[in-house]
């Protein structure tokens, strides 16, 4: 059984079709790329999976459970985490606090226990802090744990956002243009990093990316969206040859 299954998912905004008849099955451990020209509906697909938007049609099944139209926080609890195209860190909180927030969903102590600091709460908190710190270490940000997230350089903010997503302990990670605004060298580093966390955290990853070289280099399978319609899917080699894809991108700079 596949980990994530989208069946005929569509979304209209005030009659305007953003995505239509979107189908996708992801097996555990896969790394799938989602590409397409600007405005093709890629981020909308993410928003549909994570519950930010409710699909107007179709079904989304995750780990065998129908999660269509579920609230975003409940979807995150079930094991889907994401990053955002335009970084959405809690910029006034520290890097460590950003990661800590994402641990909150596992807290079992009630607010009352948190206020009187019962033993259970304390040990939970200790565990959360320890885990968050080890995550920061894993992404190479331990030295800026106490810095305000908004003051970090761009590349570190991207990595912090990934660390924050990891703290929810997802099995499926959605990355929305993680390499945006990076130069080829940085983008390459990021790809190595994504491979590494995929190994270390046993993740399934769905990736939106504009850097073609990066996508082609890392993904096993690629879907191409154009005007909300899936125009091609297959291995990187197939996609590069696909006539539909070439014409969709014709004249469009793919800043890779």
């Amino acid at each position: 059984m596949s980990l994530l299954h989208l069946q005929g998912v569509g979304k209209k905004f005030n009659g305007l079709t953003a995505v239509s008849d979107f189908n996708l099955s992801m097996e555990s451990g896969e790394l799938v790329g989602l590409i397409g020209p600007n405005g093709a509906g890629k981020t909308t697909v993410f928003n549909l999976i994570t519950g930010v938007h409710k699909p107007t049609e179709g079904r989304i099944v995750f780990k065998g459970e129908d999660i269509t139209g579920l609230r975003p926080d409940l979807i995150t609890r079930r094991g889907i985490a994401r990053t955002f195209q335009n970084i959405r860190l809690f910029s006034k909180l520290t890097a460590l606090e950003n990661v800590l927030v994402a641990n909150h969903l596992r807290l079992r102590s009630s607010p009352v226990e948190a206020v009187i600091r019962l033993g259970r709460y304390r040990s939970e908190e200790r565990e959360m802090i320890g885990y968050s710190r080890s995550l920061l270490e894993a992404v190479g940000l331990a030295h800026v744990a106490g810095e305000q997230a908004g003051s970090l350089p761009y590349g570190q903010q991207r990595r912090l956002e990934i660390a924050r997503a990891l703290a929810t302990r997802p099995s499926l990670l959605l990355l929305d243009e993680p390499a945006a605004g990076m130069n080829p060298v940085e983008a390459q580093e990021l790809m190595d990093f994504i491979r590494q966390i995929r190994q270390e955290f046993d993740l399934t990853i769905l990736l939106i990316e504009h850097h073609m070289r990066v996508v082609m280099g890392i993904c096993e399978r690629i879907l191409v969206l154009d005007y909300g319609v899936t125009i091609a899917q297959g291995s990187p080699a197939d996609i590069q040859k696909d006539q539909n894809v070439i014409s969709a991108y014709l004249g469009v700079e793919t800043d890779a």
Binding site: F13, N14, N47, V52, F84
Partner: protein, 297 residues
């Protein structure tokens, strides 16, 4: 139900509703452009009423001159408030501007108490305004006829301004998209000032008619109409001028009818608007004529 009595109440409701509409327009215009609930808007009508009062009584000016002066001074005050208390916060979180607006509102009310005194003052109402006219068994005061008439004329002028002039086009552009409007070469600051001038002038006229209707004034006179007219603007669809007019009329008529037909609820009259507000926000946050706005993720 006695039909004549019904029309009597309806006339009364229309008269009150047109006042609400006049004041609600100022709220909706400012909200449309700045996304700000201008808490001080209601207090402008109080200021205007006092200016007429003092103009006629203390400076013995003719009534028309006092009215013109009141409209001009209130418009200038509205513009000044925007300059001093809102403009410096243009790039701050919206809540900061809201707090500033609350501050200005309380400042005006209490300045009113300091300068004009806290006690209510009776307003002189010319006899011809209080005279009643009988139309098919419904007796209406001249004033109750005059208020919708004035409102109608002002609405026509406003719609000409907003939909037929270049400035009006600029206003609509700014309310649609602030930054793009600026890129198109529109002087956004000037348009915002102009919006405040227009809205405040309408509130000034509303204030004078309000004072004549209840013939008395006090420094807190703007508070309830202010809150209610904001409700009217939300009810009609905030940022939408026809919506504000519609909301104002419906609210005014509804309020009068509520009291007329369920006298037991007379004490809850002022709560009526807030109930409408909450129902609107819950079931149709965009209001009757408003457009939907979504946050981009």
């Amino acid at each position: 139900m006695d039909l004549a009595l019904f029309f009597q109440h309806l006339a009364n409701g229309i008269s009150l509703g047109s006042l609400y509409a006049l004041i609600a327009i100022g709220y909706t215009m400012v909200y449309g452009i700045l996304r700000l609930i201008n808490f001080a808007h209601g207090d402008l009508l109080m200021m205007s009423a006092y200016i007429v009062f003092y103009g006629m009584l203390v400076f013995a000016l003719p009534w028309w001159l006092s009215v013109v002066l009141a409209v001009l001074l209130t418009a200038a005050l509205g513009m000044g408030i925007e300059r001093a208390a809102y403009r410096p916060l243009r790039d701050s979180p919206r809540i900061s501007v809201l707090i500033s607006a609350i501050g200005v509102s309380f400042f005006l009310q209490n300045l009113g108490i300091v300068v004009f005194g806290g006690r209510a003052k009776a307003v002189y109402r010319p006899a011809w305004l209080a005279a009643t006219i009988d139309i098919g068994g419904v007796s209406i005061t001249t004033l109750a006829l005059l208020i919708p008439g004035v409102t109608l004329i002002l609405l026509l002028m406003l719609s000409h301004l907003v939909y037929r002039t270049k400035t009006g086009m600029a206003m609509r552009a700014v309310s649609r998209d602030y930054d793009t409007a600026r890129l198109m070469g529109i002087d956004v600051d000037r348009i915002i000032s102009f919006t405040f001038v227009t809205g405040s002038a309408l509130a000034a006229v509303g204030g004078i008619m309000w004072a004549l209707r209840y013939p008395q004034i006090h420094p807190m006179i703007g508070v309830m109409p202010g809150l209610k007219c904001f409700v009217a603007a939300v009810f009609g669809g905030i940022g939408n001028i026809p919506g504000a007019v519609l909301g104002g009329f419906l609210l005014g008529i509804g309020e009068i009818m509520l009291v007329a037909f369920i006298p037991n609820l007379a004490g809850y009259r002022d709560a009526f608007a807030f109930v409408i507000l909450i129902l609107t926000l819950l079931f149709r946050p965009t209001g009757l004529l408003g457009e939907k706005m979504a946050e981009k993720v």
